[in-house]
Symmetry: C2
Subunit: 325 residues, 2 copies
Protein backbone atom coordinates (compact mmCIF):
# COMPACT_ATOMS: atom_id res chain seq x y z
CA UNK A 1 0.00 0.00 0.00
CA UNK A 2 1.15 3.54 -0.73
CA UNK A 3 0.55 6.42 1.68
CA UNK A 4 0.15 10.18 1.82
CA UNK A 5 1.04 12.07 4.97
CA UNK A 6 -1.85 14.22 6.20
CA UNK A 7 -1.27 17.17 8.52
CA UNK A 8 -4.06 19.09 10.25
CA UNK A 9 -2.78 22.39 11.64
CA UNK A 10 -5.00 24.22 14.13
CA UNK A 11 -4.49 27.10 16.52
CA UNK A 12 -4.40 24.79 19.56
CA UNK A 13 -2.89 21.56 18.24
CA UNK A 14 -1.69 19.85 15.11
CA UNK A 15 -2.15 16.24 14.06
CA UNK A 16 -0.31 13.98 11.63
CA UNK A 17 -1.07 10.57 10.15
CA UNK A 18 -0.14 8.32 7.23
CA UNK A 19 -3.25 7.89 5.11
CA UNK A 20 -3.52 4.93 2.73
CA UNK A 21 -4.05 6.16 -0.85
CA UNK A 22 -7.38 4.35 -1.01
CA UNK A 23 -8.48 6.07 2.21
CA UNK A 24 -9.03 2.71 3.87
CA UNK A 25 -6.97 3.49 6.98
CA UNK A 26 -4.75 5.98 8.78
CA UNK A 27 -1.50 4.72 10.33
CA UNK A 28 0.43 6.17 13.26
CA UNK A 29 -1.98 9.03 13.98
CA UNK A 30 -0.42 11.49 16.44
CA UNK A 31 -0.97 15.03 17.67
CA UNK A 32 0.75 17.71 19.77
CA UNK A 33 0.15 21.30 20.94
CA UNK A 34 0.81 23.90 18.22
CA UNK A 35 2.35 26.55 20.48
CA UNK A 36 1.55 29.07 17.79
CA UNK A 37 3.02 31.82 19.98
CA UNK A 38 6.45 30.47 19.05
CA UNK A 39 8.07 31.22 15.72
CA UNK A 40 6.31 29.77 12.64
CA UNK A 41 9.53 28.02 11.58
CA UNK A 42 9.63 26.37 14.99
CA UNK A 43 6.10 25.01 14.47
CA UNK A 44 7.13 23.70 11.04
CA UNK A 45 10.21 21.98 12.54
CA UNK A 46 8.07 20.19 15.11
CA UNK A 47 5.52 19.15 12.45
CA UNK A 48 8.36 17.81 10.28
CA UNK A 49 9.74 15.86 13.23
CA UNK A 50 6.34 14.26 13.83
CA UNK A 51 6.05 13.49 10.09
CA UNK A 52 9.34 11.57 10.23
CA UNK A 53 8.18 9.69 13.31
CA UNK A 54 4.83 8.83 11.66
CA UNK A 55 6.67 7.57 8.56
CA UNK A 56 9.04 5.46 10.66
CA UNK A 57 6.20 3.95 12.66
CA UNK A 58 4.21 3.24 9.49
CA UNK A 59 7.21 1.52 7.90
CA UNK A 60 7.70 -0.52 11.07
CA UNK A 61 4.03 -1.52 11.33
CA UNK A 62 3.28 -2.24 7.67
CA UNK A 63 5.07 -3.49 4.58
CA UNK A 64 5.57 0.12 3.41
CA UNK A 65 8.95 1.27 2.04
CA UNK A 66 10.25 4.88 2.19
CA UNK A 67 9.32 5.27 -1.50
CA UNK A 68 5.71 4.42 -0.76
CA UNK A 69 5.09 7.90 0.71
CA UNK A 70 3.84 9.91 -2.23
CA UNK A 71 3.74 13.29 -0.57
CA UNK A 72 2.12 15.43 2.09
CA UNK A 73 -1.09 17.42 2.36
CA UNK A 74 -1.58 20.05 5.04
CA UNK A 75 -4.81 21.76 6.05
CA UNK A 76 -4.40 25.15 7.69
CA UNK A 77 -6.73 27.96 8.77
CA UNK A 78 -7.36 30.45 5.94
CA UNK A 79 -7.33 32.74 4.14
CA UNK A 80 -4.52 31.15 2.19
CA UNK A 81 -3.21 31.00 -1.37
CA UNK A 82 -2.86 27.54 -2.80
CA UNK A 83 -0.95 28.62 -5.90
CA UNK A 84 2.17 29.55 -3.94
CA UNK A 85 1.31 27.75 -0.70
CA UNK A 86 1.10 30.90 1.43
CA UNK A 87 -0.87 31.35 4.64
CA UNK A 88 -2.10 34.90 3.99
CA UNK A 89 -3.65 35.68 7.37
CA UNK A 90 -4.23 33.20 10.18
CA UNK A 91 -5.53 35.01 13.27
CA UNK A 92 -5.54 31.78 15.32
CA UNK A 93 -1.85 31.25 14.54
CA UNK A 94 -0.78 34.89 14.50
CA UNK A 95 0.80 34.31 11.08
CA UNK A 96 0.74 36.56 8.03
CA UNK A 97 2.15 35.85 4.57
CA UNK A 98 3.98 32.74 5.73
CA UNK A 99 5.20 30.30 3.01
CA UNK A 100 3.96 27.24 4.90
CA UNK A 101 3.92 24.84 1.96
CA UNK A 102 7.49 25.46 0.85
CA UNK A 103 8.93 25.50 4.37
CA UNK A 104 7.28 22.19 5.18
CA UNK A 105 8.35 20.73 1.84
CA UNK A 106 11.97 21.69 2.56
CA UNK A 107 11.78 20.33 6.10
CA UNK A 108 10.28 16.96 5.13
CA UNK A 109 11.54 16.38 1.59
CA UNK A 110 7.99 15.45 0.60
CA UNK A 111 6.02 17.08 -2.23
CA UNK A 112 3.52 19.22 -0.33
CA UNK A 113 0.04 20.62 -1.02
CA UNK A 114 -1.67 23.26 1.14
CA UNK A 115 -5.43 23.68 1.49
CA UNK A 116 -7.92 25.17 3.92
CA UNK A 117 -8.59 23.06 7.05
CA UNK A 118 -12.38 23.05 6.68
CA UNK A 119 -12.05 22.20 2.99
CA UNK A 120 -9.90 19.22 3.99
CA UNK A 121 -12.40 18.01 6.60
CA UNK A 122 -15.22 18.20 4.05
CA UNK A 123 -13.15 16.38 1.43
CA UNK A 124 -12.44 13.58 3.92
CA UNK A 125 -16.13 13.12 4.73
CA UNK A 126 -16.86 12.92 1.00
CA UNK A 127 -13.96 10.50 0.37
CA UNK A 128 -14.50 7.95 3.13
CA UNK A 129 -16.99 9.46 5.59
CA UNK A 130 -20.58 10.56 6.05
CA UNK A 131 -20.94 12.03 2.54
CA UNK A 132 -19.16 9.23 0.69
CA UNK A 133 -19.98 9.19 -2.99
CA UNK A 134 -22.34 12.19 -3.01
CA UNK A 135 -22.15 14.56 -5.98
CA UNK A 136 -22.83 17.82 -4.14
CA UNK A 137 -21.68 18.22 -0.54
CA UNK A 138 -21.52 21.09 1.93
CA UNK A 139 -19.39 20.64 5.05
CA UNK A 140 -19.45 22.83 8.13
CA UNK A 141 -16.90 22.59 10.93
CA UNK A 142 -18.25 24.26 14.02
CA UNK A 143 -15.78 24.82 16.83
CA UNK A 144 -13.75 27.85 17.90
CA UNK A 145 -14.74 29.24 14.52
CA UNK A 146 -17.11 28.07 11.79
CA UNK A 147 -15.40 26.85 8.64
CA UNK A 148 -16.88 25.26 5.58
CA UNK A 149 -16.20 23.43 2.38
CA UNK A 150 -18.18 22.78 -0.80
CA UNK A 151 -17.67 19.74 -3.02
CA UNK A 152 -19.15 19.57 -6.49
CA UNK A 153 -18.79 16.39 -8.52
CA UNK A 154 -15.96 15.16 -6.32
CA UNK A 155 -13.95 18.36 -6.42
CA UNK A 156 -13.53 21.11 -3.87
CA UNK A 157 -14.87 24.51 -4.90
CA UNK A 158 -12.01 26.93 -4.28
CA UNK A 159 -13.31 29.96 -6.16
CA UNK A 160 -11.28 32.75 -7.72
CA UNK A 161 -8.96 33.29 -4.73
CA UNK A 162 -9.35 30.26 -2.44
CA UNK A 163 -12.01 31.89 -0.25
CA UNK A 164 -14.97 29.72 -1.33
CA UNK A 165 -16.81 27.88 1.44
CA UNK A 166 -16.33 30.46 4.21
CA UNK A 167 -19.82 29.73 5.46
CA UNK A 168 -19.10 30.99 8.98
CA UNK A 169 -18.63 34.47 7.59
CA UNK A 170 -21.97 34.89 5.89
CA UNK A 171 -24.34 37.45 7.38
CA UNK A 172 -27.52 36.18 9.01
CA UNK A 173 -28.31 39.48 10.82
CA UNK A 174 -27.30 42.62 8.91
CA UNK A 175 -26.92 44.64 12.11
CA UNK A 176 -26.10 41.73 14.37
CA UNK A 177 -23.31 40.67 16.71
CA UNK A 178 -19.76 41.75 16.03
CA UNK A 179 -17.61 38.99 14.53
CA UNK A 180 -13.87 38.52 14.96
CA UNK A 181 -13.55 39.03 11.20
CA UNK A 182 -14.61 42.66 11.68
CA UNK A 183 -18.05 42.18 10.15
CA UNK A 184 -21.42 42.27 11.94
CA UNK A 185 -23.95 39.46 12.10
CA UNK A 186 -21.82 36.55 10.78
CA UNK A 187 -23.08 33.05 11.50
CA UNK A 188 -19.83 32.45 13.42
CA UNK A 189 -20.65 35.33 15.78
CA UNK A 190 -23.77 33.40 16.87
CA UNK A 191 -22.99 29.72 16.69
CA UNK A 192 -19.28 29.08 17.23
CA UNK A 193 -18.29 27.55 20.57
CA UNK A 194 -17.20 30.87 22.12
CA UNK A 195 -20.32 32.61 20.74
CA UNK A 196 -22.53 29.98 22.38
CA UNK A 197 -20.75 30.60 25.70
CA UNK A 198 -21.15 34.38 25.23
CA UNK A 199 -24.87 34.07 24.61
CA UNK A 200 -25.24 31.84 27.68
CA UNK A 201 -23.44 34.42 29.83
CA UNK A 202 -25.78 37.11 28.49
CA UNK A 203 -28.81 34.93 29.26
CA UNK A 204 -27.53 34.58 32.84
CA UNK A 205 -27.44 38.32 33.33
CA UNK A 206 -31.08 38.08 34.42
CA UNK A 207 -31.86 36.56 37.80
CA UNK A 208 -33.18 33.18 36.67
CA UNK A 209 -31.87 30.05 38.33
CA UNK A 210 -29.56 27.93 36.20
CA UNK A 211 -27.12 25.13 36.91
CA UNK A 212 -24.72 26.96 34.56
CA UNK A 213 -23.86 29.25 37.50
CA UNK A 214 -22.60 26.37 39.62
CA UNK A 215 -21.07 24.20 36.87
CA UNK A 216 -18.18 26.60 36.50
CA UNK A 217 -17.64 27.11 40.24
CA UNK A 218 -19.26 30.53 39.97
CA UNK A 219 -16.72 31.85 37.45
CA UNK A 220 -18.80 32.43 34.35
CA UNK A 221 -15.69 33.34 32.36
CA UNK A 222 -14.90 29.62 32.40
CA UNK A 223 -18.24 28.74 30.79
CA UNK A 224 -17.97 26.75 27.54
CA UNK A 225 -20.40 25.49 24.91
CA UNK A 226 -19.94 22.01 26.37
CA UNK A 227 -21.26 23.20 29.75
CA UNK A 228 -24.29 24.57 27.92
CA UNK A 229 -24.99 21.25 26.13
CA UNK A 230 -24.62 19.27 29.35
CA UNK A 231 -26.92 21.60 31.27
CA UNK A 232 -29.49 21.52 28.46
CA UNK A 233 -29.40 17.72 28.49
CA UNK A 234 -30.08 17.88 32.25
CA UNK A 235 -33.13 20.06 31.61
CA UNK A 236 -31.75 23.48 32.52
CA UNK A 237 -34.15 26.03 30.98
CA UNK A 238 -31.58 28.76 30.31
CA UNK A 239 -29.23 26.28 28.63
CA UNK A 240 -32.10 24.76 26.63
CA UNK A 241 -32.99 28.17 25.24
CA UNK A 242 -29.38 28.90 24.29
CA UNK A 243 -29.20 25.53 22.49
CA UNK A 244 -32.53 26.15 20.72
CA UNK A 245 -31.26 29.53 19.51
CA UNK A 246 -27.99 27.96 18.39
CA UNK A 247 -29.90 25.39 16.34
CA UNK A 248 -31.99 28.19 14.84
CA UNK A 249 -28.92 30.17 13.79
CA UNK A 250 -27.15 27.13 12.38
CA UNK A 251 -30.36 26.06 10.65
CA UNK A 252 -30.58 29.48 9.01
CA UNK A 253 -27.02 29.16 7.73
CA UNK A 254 -27.65 25.63 6.47
CA UNK A 255 -30.92 26.70 4.79
CA UNK A 256 -29.04 29.47 2.97
CA UNK A 257 -26.60 26.90 1.66
CA UNK A 258 -29.46 24.65 0.56
CA UNK A 259 -30.97 27.46 -1.52
CA UNK A 260 -27.59 28.48 -2.96
CA UNK A 261 -25.82 25.15 -3.50
CA UNK A 262 -28.65 22.57 -3.19
CA UNK A 263 -26.43 19.76 -1.86
CA UNK A 264 -27.26 16.09 -1.40
CA UNK A 265 -25.49 15.99 1.95
CA UNK A 266 -24.65 18.59 4.60
CA UNK A 267 -21.99 17.24 6.97
CA UNK A 268 -21.67 18.93 10.34
CA UNK A 269 -18.46 18.44 12.29
CA UNK A 270 -16.65 19.90 15.28
CA UNK A 271 -17.56 20.51 18.89
CA UNK A 272 -21.15 21.46 18.28
CA UNK A 273 -21.97 17.96 17.07
CA UNK A 274 -21.21 16.61 20.56
CA UNK A 275 -24.66 17.95 21.37
CA UNK A 276 -26.13 15.37 18.98
CA UNK A 277 -29.89 15.40 18.41
CA UNK A 278 -30.25 18.17 21.01
CA UNK A 279 -28.95 20.47 18.23
CA UNK A 280 -29.65 18.42 15.12
CA UNK A 281 -33.40 17.98 15.59
CA UNK A 282 -34.27 21.70 15.95
CA UNK A 283 -31.63 22.56 13.32
CA UNK A 284 -33.35 20.31 10.78
CA UNK A 285 -36.72 21.82 11.72
CA UNK A 286 -35.38 25.32 11.07
CA UNK A 287 -34.00 24.22 7.70
CA UNK A 288 -37.40 22.77 6.74
CA UNK A 289 -39.01 26.11 7.60
CA UNK A 290 -36.54 28.19 5.63
CA UNK A 291 -35.30 26.33 2.54
CA UNK A 292 -37.21 25.45 -0.62
CA UNK A 293 -39.05 22.17 -0.39
CA UNK A 294 -37.22 20.42 -3.28
CA UNK A 295 -33.89 21.37 -1.64
CA UNK A 296 -35.03 20.05 1.76
CA UNK A 297 -36.32 16.83 0.21
CA UNK A 298 -33.01 16.27 -1.61
CA UNK A 299 -30.66 16.68 1.37
CA UNK A 300 -29.39 14.60 4.27
CA UNK A 301 -28.07 16.67 7.21
CA UNK A 302 -25.71 14.43 9.16
CA UNK A 303 -22.86 14.57 11.67
CA UNK A 304 -19.40 13.76 10.34
CA UNK A 305 -18.25 10.14 10.59
CA UNK A 306 -14.51 10.71 10.93
CA UNK A 307 -14.32 12.74 14.14
CA UNK A 308 -11.01 14.41 14.90
CA UNK A 309 -9.21 12.51 12.11
CA UNK A 310 -11.17 14.20 9.32
CA UNK A 311 -8.59 16.99 8.95
CA UNK A 312 -5.64 14.60 8.55
CA UNK A 313 -7.47 12.28 6.15
CA UNK A 314 -8.76 15.25 4.13
CA UNK A 315 -5.34 16.89 3.91
CA UNK A 316 -4.04 13.66 2.33
CA UNK A 317 -7.07 13.65 0.01
CA UNK A 318 -6.30 17.26 -0.99
CA UNK A 319 -2.78 16.17 -1.97
CA UNK A 320 -4.18 13.31 -4.06
CA UNK A 321 -6.78 15.59 -5.68
CA UNK A 322 -4.28 18.26 -6.64
CA UNK A 323 -1.65 15.83 -7.87
CA UNK A 324 -4.36 13.66 -9.44
CA UNK A 325 -2.45 10.59 -8.26
CA UNK B 1 -25.54 30.15 -39.54
CA UNK B 2 -27.55 27.80 -37.37
CA UNK B 3 -29.95 29.03 -34.69
CA UNK B 4 -31.56 28.06 -31.41
CA UNK B 5 -34.90 29.55 -30.40
CA UNK B 6 -34.75 31.18 -26.97
CA UNK B 7 -37.91 31.76 -24.93
CA UNK B 8 -38.00 33.84 -21.74
CA UNK B 9 -41.24 33.22 -19.85
CA UNK B 10 -42.14 35.67 -17.09
CA UNK B 11 -45.24 36.37 -15.05
CA UNK B 12 -45.97 39.57 -16.98
CA UNK B 13 -44.64 38.88 -20.46
CA UNK B 14 -42.79 36.38 -22.55
CA UNK B 15 -40.14 36.99 -25.20
CA UNK B 16 -38.83 34.92 -28.10
CA UNK B 17 -35.83 35.26 -30.40
CA UNK B 18 -33.65 33.22 -32.76
CA UNK B 19 -30.17 33.13 -31.27
CA UNK B 20 -27.19 32.34 -33.50
CA UNK B 21 -25.33 29.27 -32.19
CA UNK B 22 -22.19 31.35 -31.68
CA UNK B 23 -24.19 33.88 -29.66
CA UNK B 24 -23.19 36.65 -32.06
CA UNK B 25 -26.73 37.90 -32.64
CA UNK B 26 -30.42 37.47 -31.94
CA UNK B 27 -32.85 37.63 -34.87
CA UNK B 28 -36.53 38.57 -34.85
CA UNK B 29 -36.75 39.32 -31.10
CA UNK B 30 -40.38 39.73 -30.06
CA UNK B 31 -42.44 39.77 -26.87
CA UNK B 32 -46.07 39.75 -25.72
CA UNK B 33 -48.08 39.74 -22.48
CA UNK B 34 -48.16 36.33 -20.76
CA UNK B 35 -51.76 36.53 -19.52
CA UNK B 36 -50.86 33.86 -17.01
CA UNK B 37 -54.42 33.98 -15.66
CA UNK B 38 -55.48 32.06 -18.76
CA UNK B 39 -54.94 28.32 -19.10
CA UNK B 40 -51.30 27.17 -19.22
CA UNK B 41 -51.95 25.38 -22.53
CA UNK B 42 -53.22 28.68 -23.94
CA UNK B 43 -49.96 30.39 -22.97
CA UNK B 44 -48.01 27.57 -24.62
CA UNK B 45 -50.07 27.91 -27.82
CA UNK B 46 -49.32 31.63 -28.01
CA UNK B 47 -45.59 31.04 -27.35
CA UNK B 48 -45.55 28.39 -30.10
CA UNK B 49 -47.23 30.80 -32.49
CA UNK B 50 -44.59 33.45 -31.78
CA UNK B 51 -41.86 30.82 -32.22
CA UNK B 52 -43.17 30.03 -35.72
CA UNK B 53 -43.30 33.72 -36.56
CA UNK B 54 -39.74 34.27 -35.28
CA UNK B 55 -38.53 31.32 -37.37
CA UNK B 56 -40.31 32.62 -40.48
CA UNK B 57 -38.90 36.11 -40.05
CA UNK B 58 -35.40 34.72 -39.43
CA UNK B 59 -35.60 32.60 -42.58
CA UNK B 60 -36.80 35.64 -44.54
CA UNK B 61 -34.09 37.96 -43.19
CA UNK B 62 -31.10 35.57 -43.32
CA UNK B 63 -29.88 32.65 -45.38
CA UNK B 64 -31.26 30.23 -42.76
CA UNK B 65 -33.23 27.14 -43.80
CA UNK B 66 -35.86 25.39 -41.64
CA UNK B 67 -33.29 22.69 -40.76
CA UNK B 68 -30.95 25.31 -39.34
CA UNK B 69 -33.06 25.60 -36.15
CA UNK B 70 -31.47 23.10 -33.77
CA UNK B 71 -33.99 23.34 -30.99
CA UNK B 72 -35.52 25.53 -28.33
CA UNK B 73 -34.54 26.60 -24.83
CA UNK B 74 -37.05 28.09 -22.42
CA UNK B 75 -36.35 29.87 -19.16
CA UNK B 76 -39.20 29.84 -16.64
CA UNK B 77 -39.64 30.84 -13.01
CA UNK B 78 -38.78 27.99 -10.62
CA UNK B 79 -38.84 25.73 -8.77
CA UNK B 80 -38.75 23.36 -11.71
CA UNK B 81 -37.47 19.91 -12.58
CA UNK B 82 -35.18 19.78 -15.58
CA UNK B 83 -35.13 15.99 -15.82
CA UNK B 84 -38.77 15.77 -16.92
CA UNK B 85 -39.25 19.42 -17.88
CA UNK B 86 -41.87 20.18 -15.23
CA UNK B 87 -42.68 23.54 -13.71
CA UNK B 88 -43.20 22.38 -10.12
CA UNK B 89 -44.53 25.59 -8.59
CA UNK B 90 -44.61 29.00 -10.26
CA UNK B 91 -46.43 31.50 -8.04
CA UNK B 92 -46.09 34.27 -10.65
CA UNK B 93 -47.79 32.08 -13.24
CA UNK B 94 -50.22 30.29 -10.93
CA UNK B 95 -48.97 26.95 -12.31
CA UNK B 96 -48.21 23.76 -10.45
CA UNK B 97 -46.77 20.51 -11.85
CA UNK B 98 -47.14 21.66 -15.44
CA UNK B 99 -45.19 19.71 -18.13
CA UNK B 100 -44.03 22.88 -19.86
CA UNK B 101 -41.12 21.35 -21.77
CA UNK B 102 -43.11 18.53 -23.36
CA UNK B 103 -46.12 20.69 -24.18
CA UNK B 104 -43.94 23.27 -25.89
CA UNK B 105 -41.98 20.56 -27.69
CA UNK B 106 -45.21 19.10 -29.05
CA UNK B 107 -46.53 22.52 -30.05
CA UNK B 108 -43.37 23.60 -31.89
CA UNK B 109 -41.86 20.32 -33.10
CA UNK B 110 -38.49 21.53 -31.76
CA UNK B 111 -36.34 19.61 -29.28
CA UNK B 112 -36.83 21.61 -26.07
CA UNK B 113 -34.82 22.22 -22.90
CA UNK B 114 -36.22 23.87 -19.76
CA UNK B 115 -34.18 25.81 -17.21
CA UNK B 116 -34.69 28.45 -14.54
CA UNK B 117 -35.08 32.01 -15.88
CA UNK B 118 -32.38 33.54 -13.65
CA UNK B 119 -30.03 30.68 -14.52
CA UNK B 120 -30.59 31.49 -18.19
CA UNK B 121 -29.92 35.21 -17.72
CA UNK B 122 -26.67 34.42 -15.90
CA UNK B 123 -25.61 31.94 -18.56
CA UNK B 124 -26.19 34.58 -21.26
CA UNK B 125 -24.02 37.16 -19.47
CA UNK B 126 -21.28 34.53 -19.17
CA UNK B 127 -21.64 33.47 -22.82
CA UNK B 128 -21.70 36.84 -24.59
CA UNK B 129 -22.22 39.51 -21.92
CA UNK B 130 -20.65 41.20 -18.92
CA UNK B 131 -19.07 38.03 -17.50
CA UNK B 132 -17.83 36.64 -20.81
CA UNK B 133 -15.11 34.05 -20.34
CA UNK B 134 -15.00 34.16 -16.53
CA UNK B 135 -14.51 30.84 -14.72
CA UNK B 136 -16.71 31.53 -11.68
CA UNK B 137 -19.76 33.77 -12.06
CA UNK B 138 -22.69 34.73 -9.84
CA UNK B 139 -25.69 36.39 -11.48
CA UNK B 140 -28.52 38.16 -9.69
CA UNK B 141 -31.70 39.29 -11.39
CA UNK B 142 -33.44 41.87 -9.27
CA UNK B 143 -36.98 42.77 -10.30
CA UNK B 144 -40.38 41.62 -9.04
CA UNK B 145 -38.41 38.89 -7.33
CA UNK B 146 -34.71 38.22 -6.87
CA UNK B 147 -33.38 35.27 -8.83
CA UNK B 148 -29.86 34.05 -9.22
CA UNK B 149 -27.54 31.74 -11.08
CA UNK B 150 -24.08 30.35 -10.43
CA UNK B 151 -21.65 29.34 -13.17
CA UNK B 152 -18.56 27.29 -12.42
CA UNK B 153 -16.09 26.57 -15.21
CA UNK B 154 -18.64 27.41 -17.86
CA UNK B 155 -21.43 25.28 -16.45
CA UNK B 156 -24.51 26.21 -14.48
CA UNK B 157 -24.65 24.85 -10.95
CA UNK B 158 -28.04 23.15 -10.67
CA UNK B 159 -27.55 21.21 -7.45
CA UNK B 160 -29.28 18.04 -6.39
CA UNK B 161 -32.82 19.15 -7.31
CA UNK B 162 -32.47 22.23 -9.55
CA UNK B 163 -32.80 24.72 -6.68
CA UNK B 164 -29.18 26.00 -6.69
CA UNK B 165 -28.73 29.75 -7.11
CA UNK B 166 -31.90 30.87 -5.32
CA UNK B 167 -30.02 33.81 -3.87
CA UNK B 168 -33.15 35.88 -3.30
CA UNK B 169 -34.31 33.35 -0.75
CA UNK B 170 -31.33 33.42 1.56
CA UNK B 171 -31.90 34.88 5.01
CA UNK B 172 -30.16 38.15 5.84
CA UNK B 173 -32.28 38.86 8.97
CA UNK B 174 -33.32 35.77 10.92
CA UNK B 175 -36.43 37.48 12.34
CA UNK B 176 -36.90 39.90 9.47
CA UNK B 177 -39.59 40.84 6.96
CA UNK B 178 -42.03 38.22 5.76
CA UNK B 179 -41.22 36.94 2.27
CA UNK B 180 -43.69 35.64 -0.33
CA UNK B 181 -41.93 32.25 -0.08
CA UNK B 182 -43.24 31.92 3.50
CA UNK B 183 -39.88 32.49 5.13
CA UNK B 184 -38.78 35.52 7.16
CA UNK B 185 -35.87 37.83 6.38
CA UNK B 186 -35.10 36.74 2.79
CA UNK B 187 -33.02 39.12 0.68
CA UNK B 188 -35.99 39.32 -1.72
CA UNK B 189 -38.21 40.64 1.07
CA UNK B 190 -35.89 43.67 1.36
CA UNK B 191 -34.54 44.42 -2.09
CA UNK B 192 -36.97 43.28 -4.78
CA UNK B 193 -38.85 46.05 -6.62
CA UNK B 194 -42.06 45.65 -4.59
CA UNK B 195 -40.04 45.43 -1.34
CA UNK B 196 -38.32 48.71 -2.18
CA UNK B 197 -41.71 50.35 -2.76
CA UNK B 198 -43.00 48.86 0.52
CA UNK B 199 -40.06 50.25 2.47
CA UNK B 200 -40.54 53.67 0.87
CA UNK B 201 -44.22 53.68 1.90
CA UNK B 202 -43.20 52.79 5.44
CA UNK B 203 -40.63 55.59 5.46
CA UNK B 204 -43.39 58.01 4.41
CA UNK B 205 -45.55 57.06 7.38
CA UNK B 206 -43.68 59.75 9.32
CA UNK B 207 -44.39 63.37 8.53
CA UNK B 208 -41.24 64.22 6.60
CA UNK B 209 -41.59 66.04 3.28
CA UNK B 210 -40.84 63.96 0.20
CA UNK B 211 -41.50 64.32 -3.50
CA UNK B 212 -42.57 60.65 -3.41
CA UNK B 213 -45.94 61.83 -2.06
CA UNK B 214 -46.63 63.92 -5.15
CA UNK B 215 -44.98 61.72 -7.80
CA UNK B 216 -47.80 59.22 -7.57
CA UNK B 217 -50.58 61.82 -7.50
CA UNK B 218 -51.01 61.21 -3.79
CA UNK B 219 -51.82 57.53 -4.20
CA UNK B 220 -48.93 55.80 -2.50
CA UNK B 221 -50.23 52.39 -3.56
CA UNK B 222 -48.98 53.30 -7.05
CA UNK B 223 -45.44 53.90 -5.77
CA UNK B 224 -42.76 51.82 -7.52
CA UNK B 225 -39.03 51.28 -7.08
CA UNK B 226 -38.51 53.45 -10.18
CA UNK B 227 -40.20 56.40 -8.45
CA UNK B 228 -37.81 55.89 -5.56
CA UNK B 229 -34.72 55.89 -7.81
CA UNK B 230 -35.89 59.00 -9.65
CA UNK B 231 -36.62 60.88 -6.43
CA UNK B 232 -33.26 59.84 -4.97
CA UNK B 233 -31.51 61.10 -8.08
CA UNK B 234 -33.33 64.42 -7.57
CA UNK B 235 -32.02 64.63 -4.00
CA UNK B 236 -35.09 63.55 -2.08
CA UNK B 237 -33.86 62.57 1.41
CA UNK B 238 -36.46 59.88 2.10
CA UNK B 239 -35.81 58.24 -1.27
CA UNK B 240 -32.05 58.50 -0.79
CA UNK B 241 -32.29 56.64 2.49
CA UNK B 242 -34.44 53.90 0.96
CA UNK B 243 -31.88 53.52 -1.86
CA UNK B 244 -28.98 53.45 0.62
CA UNK B 245 -30.71 50.73 2.61
CA UNK B 246 -31.43 48.78 -0.59
CA UNK B 247 -27.75 48.91 -1.52
CA UNK B 248 -26.85 47.76 1.98
CA UNK B 249 -29.19 44.75 1.78
CA UNK B 250 -28.05 43.81 -1.71
CA UNK B 251 -24.42 44.30 -0.68
CA UNK B 252 -24.96 41.92 2.22
CA UNK B 253 -26.39 39.29 -0.13
CA UNK B 254 -23.54 39.77 -2.60
CA UNK B 255 -20.93 39.61 0.20
CA UNK B 256 -22.41 36.29 1.36
CA UNK B 257 -22.01 34.94 -2.17
CA UNK B 258 -18.41 36.19 -2.28
CA UNK B 259 -17.55 34.27 0.88
CA UNK B 260 -19.40 31.14 -0.27
CA UNK B 261 -18.64 30.99 -4.01
CA UNK B 262 -15.74 33.47 -4.42
CA UNK B 263 -16.62 34.46 -8.02
CA UNK B 264 -14.59 36.48 -10.50
CA UNK B 265 -17.67 38.38 -11.63
CA UNK B 266 -21.02 39.24 -10.05
CA UNK B 267 -23.50 40.35 -12.70
CA UNK B 268 -26.50 42.34 -11.53
CA UNK B 269 -29.49 42.54 -13.84
CA UNK B 270 -33.13 43.62 -13.75
CA UNK B 271 -34.96 46.75 -12.75
CA UNK B 272 -32.71 47.66 -9.85
CA UNK B 273 -29.78 48.25 -12.20
CA UNK B 274 -31.69 51.18 -13.75
CA UNK B 275 -30.56 53.04 -10.64
CA UNK B 276 -26.95 52.66 -11.85
CA UNK B 277 -24.18 53.99 -9.61
CA UNK B 278 -26.80 55.32 -7.18
CA UNK B 279 -27.12 51.67 -6.07
CA UNK B 280 -23.85 50.19 -7.30
CA UNK B 281 -21.46 52.51 -5.46
CA UNK B 282 -22.90 51.95 -1.94
CA UNK B 283 -23.49 48.26 -2.76
CA UNK B 284 -19.81 47.80 -3.57
CA UNK B 285 -18.87 49.65 -0.36
CA UNK B 286 -21.04 47.29 1.68
CA UNK B 287 -19.44 44.28 -0.01
CA UNK B 288 -15.96 45.63 0.83
CA UNK B 289 -17.01 45.95 4.47
CA UNK B 290 -18.47 42.46 4.71
CA UNK B 291 -16.57 40.00 2.49
CA UNK B 292 -13.05 38.65 2.92
CA UNK B 293 -10.42 40.84 1.34
CA UNK B 294 -9.07 38.22 -1.13
CA UNK B 295 -12.65 37.64 -2.32
CA UNK B 296 -13.29 41.38 -2.74
CA UNK B 297 -9.99 41.85 -4.58
CA UNK B 298 -10.80 38.99 -6.96
CA UNK B 299 -14.29 40.13 -8.02
CA UNK B 300 -15.83 42.59 -10.47
CA UNK B 301 -19.40 43.64 -9.59
CA UNK B 302 -21.02 44.85 -12.79
CA UNK B 303 -24.40 45.48 -14.38
CA UNK B 304 -25.49 43.03 -17.06
CA UNK B 305 -24.65 43.92 -20.66
CA UNK B 306 -27.57 42.23 -22.40
CA UNK B 307 -30.54 44.03 -20.87
CA UNK B 308 -33.96 42.51 -21.48
CA UNK B 309 -32.58 40.05 -24.05
CA UNK B 310 -30.47 38.13 -21.52
CA UNK B 311 -33.28 35.67 -20.78
CA UNK B 312 -33.83 34.75 -24.44
CA UNK B 313 -30.12 34.47 -25.24
CA UNK B 314 -29.51 32.43 -22.09
CA UNK B 315 -32.41 30.07 -22.77
CA UNK B 316 -30.80 29.28 -26.12
CA UNK B 317 -27.45 28.83 -24.35
CA UNK B 318 -29.10 26.43 -21.88
CA UNK B 319 -30.29 24.33 -24.83
CA UNK B 320 -26.78 24.29 -26.31
CA UNK B 321 -25.23 23.43 -22.94
CA UNK B 322 -27.58 20.54 -22.26
CA UNK B 323 -27.44 19.12 -25.76
CA UNK B 324 -23.68 19.86 -25.93
CA UNK B 325 -24.17 20.94 -29.54
Amino acid sequence: MRYVIGVDLGGTKFAVGAVAVDGSRTEAFDSAPTHAERDADDVVARIASMVRSVMDRTIAATAAAPDDFLGLGIGAPGPLRRADGMVVVAPNLGWRDYPLRDRLQSATGLATVLDNDANCATLAEWWVGAAKGATTVVGMTIGTGIGGGIILEGRLLHGASDVAGEIGHTTIETSGRRCKCGNYGCLEAYASGPAIADRAREALEGNGASMLRTMTGGDLRALTAEHVYNAARDGDEVAKEVVRDTARYLGTGVANLLNIVNPEVVVLAGGVTDAGELILAPLRAEVRKRAFRPAVDAVRIVPGALGSRAGVIGAAAAFLAERRV
